[in-house]
């Protein structure tokens, strides 16, 4: 950015901020004007609600407790899904026999949205922690397998040739060429899986839970407290965005060779 900017440039630079501010102002007036009755809380009410929930428990625990409850489920499920899913996808992508055995069964399950597993999960595991973790597991597992699989399959044959000409054996081709070249695809799968996980935990908690962010917004609905719902939604969005950013940092750390690609 150059030092001297014309008023128009300054204006356009602040346009995004202006637009957000404008929305909040319109929202505030719309809410306090009473056009929507009680169903639209004002931004101020949302902020107050947020501050309240920091210290005052909703149900069993305060806001932090609900976030942690959901995070715990997501992280447990995600870890298990990654530990099983990635090796499985890699195996499928590398070994044709493994592919022939696993792929047809996998293809039956793949198109079923993880959320559609909720009733069966509840039937199998009751309404405690297990069904929620199970749903999240399905959410993360499918993209983890799929991306590891396609990542390996799209390994550049030229690079494999280069490594072979350098004397690599099969095991070395896998470890030194195929796996690293699949890493970006694997990370895309993890990113995808994590956001699905976050969505699944919400759905599972809304169907039946006593803590967690999904419980929080449903509780807001039961209490006819839209401020609580909106606070919950914003928290859900913020946490989701944060874990996505976190994973991107992990990726940059694991794959330092990847050039920055914006958006």
């Amino acid at each position: 950015m150059n030092a001297k900017a014309s008023p128009a440039e300054i204006f356009s630079r602040f346009l995004p901020l202006t637009s957000l501010l404008l929305i909040i102002i319109v929202w505030q007036f719309a809410a306090t004007g009473g056009y929507f009755g009680k169903s639209l809380p004002s931004p101020v009410a949302v902020v107050n609600q947020f501050v309240d929930m920091l210290a005052e428990p909703v149900g069993k625990t305060i806001l932090g407790g609900h976030i942690w409850a959901s995070m715990r489920r997501v992280l447990t499920a995600f870890a298990v899904a990654v530990l099983i899913g990635i090796p499985m996808g890699l195996l499928m992508g590398w070994n044709k026999k493994a592919e022939a055995i696993i792929k047809p069964i996998f293809e039956i399950f793949r198109p079923i949205p993880p959320i559609a597993w909720i009733p069966l999960a509840i039937l199998w595991f009751g309404i405690e922690e297990t069904p929620k973790v199970f749903i999240c597991f399905i959410g993360a597992f499918i993209p983890a397998v799929m991306n590891a699989y396609t990542g390996i399959r799209f390994t550049d044959p030229l690079l494999l040739d280069a490594a072979r000409s350098q004397g690599a054996n099969l095991r070395q081709l896998f470890k030194e060429v195929a796996v690293p070249s699949a890493l970006p695809a694997i990370f895309a799968g993890l990113q995808n899986g994590l956001s699905l996980c976050w969505m699944c935990v919400l759905a599972a908690e809304m169907v039946g839970a006593e803590e967690g962010v999904g419980y929080l917004i449903l509780r807001g609905m039961d209490m006819s407290n839209p401020a609580m719902i909106i606070t919950g939604m914003l928290i859900i969005g913020a946490v989701g965005a944060l874990i996505a950013v976190g994973l991107r940092y992990v990726e940059r750390w694991v794959c330092p060779w990847k050039r920055e690609i914006s958006m």
């Binding site: 040739d161 280069a162 490594a163 000409s165 350098q166 004397g167 690293p180 060779w257 990847k258 050039r259």
Partner: protein, 258 residues
């Protein structure tokens, strides 16, 4: 490194190579037809041929990455049946591992062979230095220019200590300026660390500038059309009258498509 002298004994040779691929429409495309050639120890042999005439296939077969339908490759009188540490390959599209640093790329062959880290880095450093990339050991390929990438490719091929270097249009993806520079560079490197070189190109000037001998291939299916020994003293000049004479002679005999 010890200097090696040209030995009249042929080091690598192709004997009656045939190769064809099944085409899309069920037809069979014949790519190589009775290709015979032999390369002397420490000779710089250039294979010159028009685009799409099976040069890459020929080199891949020589490197043991692909197999011929019939005929064989002899390396020191032993048939080649797969990738061999005595055959180093330099690719047109560099084929560097994006996730490995310059050091990692150059030393990968030694790593595959289980050489200790200290030893392989020492050796790789020697060749990185030889190709003029000292200071870039920790860079990733995306941080390098095209010419630098191919220097890494050359150092990598050298680092496994092969007897024969096979180069598949190594400068084909470079801009003209860089290409001239790299042509000088490859000769400088080769003079310093002599190996048997088989260099494939579709560029007639490049062939005459570099080669001890030029093997001219025909259009598809490729077969050896003529062999030209180039007895011009190095460094050669593109504008030298004898250079142009040779150029004319070869050009009259080629199917190079323009």
């Amino acid at each position: 490194m010890e200097a090696r002298n040209i030995d009249v004994k042929s080091e690598i040779s192709c004997q009656h190579l045939y190769k064809s691929f099944p085409g899309m429409d069920g037809n069979v495309t014949e790519v190589l037809k009775d290709v015979n050639l032999s390369v002397a120890k420490n000779e710089f042999l250039v294979i010159l041929g028009p685009g799409q005439c099976g040069k890459t296939t020929l080199l891949n077969i020589m490197a043991g990455l692909d197999s011929s339908d019939s005929g064989e490759i002899l390396l020191n009188d032993v048939p080649v049946s797969g990738p061999n540490p005595n055959l180093g390959l330099v690719f047109q599209r560099m084929a560097l591992m994006p996730w490995k640093t310059v050091m990692g790329n150059v030393s990968m062959g030694l790593k595959f062979r289980g050489v200790s880290k200290k030893e392989r880095e020492e050796k790789a450093r020697y060749f990185i230095n030889l190709v003029g990339l000292s200071g870039f050991e920790k860079s990733y390929p995306y941080q390098l220019s095209g010419g630098m990438k191919q220097r890494v490719g050359i150092a990598r091929a050298y680092c496994s200590d092969p007897e024969v270097l096979l180069m598949d249009e190594p400068f084909g993806a470079l801009d003209a300026q860089t290409r001239y520079m790299m042509e000088e560079e490859i000769l400088r490197i080769w003079e310093k660390a002599k190996r048997t070189v088989v260099f494939v190109t579709n560029n007639i000037e490049e062939a005459i500038y570099l080669g001890d001998r030029i093997v001219l291939l025909s259009r598809c299916p490729a077969t050896v059309k003529a062999v030209y020994p180039i007895d011009l003293a190095r460094p050669r000049q593109f504008t030298d009258s004898r250079f142009l004479e040779v150029r004319q002679k070869i050009a009259d005999n080629t199917d190079l498509a323009l």
